[in-house]
Amino acid sequence: MQAHAPSLAGNVRSALLAELLSFLPSAAVLFDEEDLRPYECDGLSAYRALPAVAVLPSTETEVRKILSLCQRLGVPVVARGAGTGLSGGALPHAGGVLLSLARFMRILELDPIARIARVQPGVRNLAISDAASRYGLYYAPDPSSQIACSIGGNVAENSGGVHCLKYGLTVHNILRLRLCTIDGEVHEIGGHALDSPGYDLLALITGSEGLLGVITEITVKLLPKPDTARCVLAAFGSVAEAGEAVAAVIGAGIVPAGLEMMDKAATAAVEPFVNAGYPLDAAAILLCESDGTTDEVAAEIDRIAAIMRSTGATDIRVSRDEAERLRFWSGRKAAFPAVGRISPDYYCMDGTIPRKHLAQVLTGIARLEKKYRLRCANVFHAGDGNLHPLILYDANQPGELERCEAFGADILRLCIDAGGTITGEHGVGIEKIDQMCEQFAEPALEAFHRVKQVFDPHRLLNPDKAVPTLHRCAELGRMHVHRGEERFADLPRF
């Protein structure tokens, strides 16, 4: 691969470097190939590109100067947090500027009485909860990569986790942003009150995948930690029965803290890996968690277990202590790496469907397994309908990659047909840009482009991501994992 992408004219590149070095220390401006290499991809490593320059500002003023400079020179900019995203949202633009927010790593303020934390975008998700824990508080959204992913990236992607049904996504758990637009202007979006005047730009920016601005500060809400949590593990003879159990729990007025499903292929992959004690003869298992006060949890767990029994569970276990609860979860959390052990490659999908169509969609996936002659293990955030089918393939076998990609596209089509969406929490990025054309009608895509125009008229921020141009809806992308050589292979992925 070329050291410097050709798309940036030499004179522009030297002007860019000279100006960047006029206000940034030389250690914060990287342009040698070996220095740029770590930035060539994010968690979706099938896509790689070298930026012309990577910059590591440490202040908001520096970010403003970088952005207005890029606007003046017409250079594309891609912001990057920890780079753990799974949809290529932080893939650099070849020949553009990669703006890393890694140096924005301070927790600026933690107010335990007002239950808020004001943090810089590079702060790790879990670090916020760690800092808040001494006050009995935590930050609720918990994407599986939370030990490494940054809060700025969470806002850009509107990240979820396993507790979304009860506690919401990122958009429900932040109060205020400082947003730097491409013209170098800083906007305060939202506020420390529960609402703010004007349009809900906080919602618009959250999940906008770095296309509208660069976030330089975030105020998150902190919640009081529940006294206790316990988990029910239930086994079912069919996926349909497990789906009915999920509907019955919700229909009974219970909003579980977490509600996860794994099919037989998934439990078969994880059990030898983690020994979570999953029943291997079950067609599907459910993990259902209750949190609250000790008495409340005991009562809710009894109700959940009774519902599971009445909907045909063949085996029910309730965690007796914290160690057992964590063991129940260990298999679910190890699902991705476990699948990576049994297959040379796998491809993770991220569709969401109305829960009632679960059995129908899983039957459809089983049919596609035969059609494409590839296996698929299914893990599922059952509470909020977010499905992660993991297609197993071997990139070294001729034709398998292509079959896998076609399989994945068909799964997303199933999700759209069931009234769902192509991405529940991983984002569109570069990966699902093609499927956006299937999910949204042309007028809606045009509206998205008009929104983009308001914030970034020259389309310099994270170009060619998230929203496809109308005349070019053809690119395909995938999360490829070859022989476990996943980037951040040590991170749990669920």
């Binding site: 009150a193 007025g253 006060t293 409340e296 809710e300």
Partner: protein, 352 residues
Amino acid sequence: MQAIVHEWRERVRASADSTEALCIRGSGSKDFYGGALQGAVLDTRAYHGILEYEPTELVMRARSGTQLATVEAELAAHGQMLGFEPPHFGTGATLGGAVACGLSGPRRAAAGAVRDFVLGIRILDGRGTDLAFGGKVMKNVAGYDVSRLMVGAMGTLGIILDVALKVLPRPERELTLRFELNQTQALHRMNSWASQPYPITATCHEGDALHVRVSGSAIGVESAARTLGGARLEDAGAFWRDLREQRAMFFQGAEPLWRLSVKSTAPQLPLPGPQLIEWNGGLRWIHGETDASVVRDVARKADGHAVLFRAIDKCSSVFQPLPPALMTLHRGLKQAFDPAGILNRGRLYDEL
């Protein structure tokens, strides 16, 4: 019903051609809120009906002209509710109006605001284009979140056609506790309780009385009530309804009513007139004649903003003025969705 959409589209196109303002209106229950009504009325009430509701999905999709009361009755029949506990301000209040105004009731601090429950939306923009955003699933990150952008936009960005909402189960048990506390003590108490895992779903302080509602499982509510103390209030349902609908004594009278949304820990606001506090301290109602610039300044210093909620004479702008750069973004968004500037002109800001 599609015929209505066609008719509206033609009206929008005609208005856009003539640049005559179009006033989107349901029952008019919130006419008092926001800037003055301008232009010919487009009545949304004919476009009504629940489109989809399956209690086990926790999702309801309905047309904008559907009465809130209809929505709530259907949910209640299945043991569910709107989590944001919207004020109606009138018997005919519609779902579209509730979403467009973005007003949430007493449960807001605990459960979330209107925007937190909106999953998807279908609108007619100012060109008459039929646009659908979001969906009817809990998690959806495809495309910009235009659905939530419509909440509280006062109809200035589009005519809401259909809305998909996340709904919640009704709590098994609910009770209200009353404490004798002055405002400073109450503010301290509300914030300190909110930082502990109590199932508190509404708070209200007025005069020397703090009312606290706890909701959830019977066991959880009883145990929280024992820990919190206080005296139990009879007929608590009426108390919170009257508060939500502003039928309580505090809201009576002709003086201007200001709504200040502030950081919950902000100390007692230095403004004349009686004050009523909700949302653990995050929402302060002030009833009295005060200079608008003083109120806005006080709100700003308390990390918040002020809305002139009700007034006979709205000579001052209703909503807190925006910083110029932010207003530029607002104007850009208005231009993107309603280039002719016809939809609910002036209801949010004069410039929009």
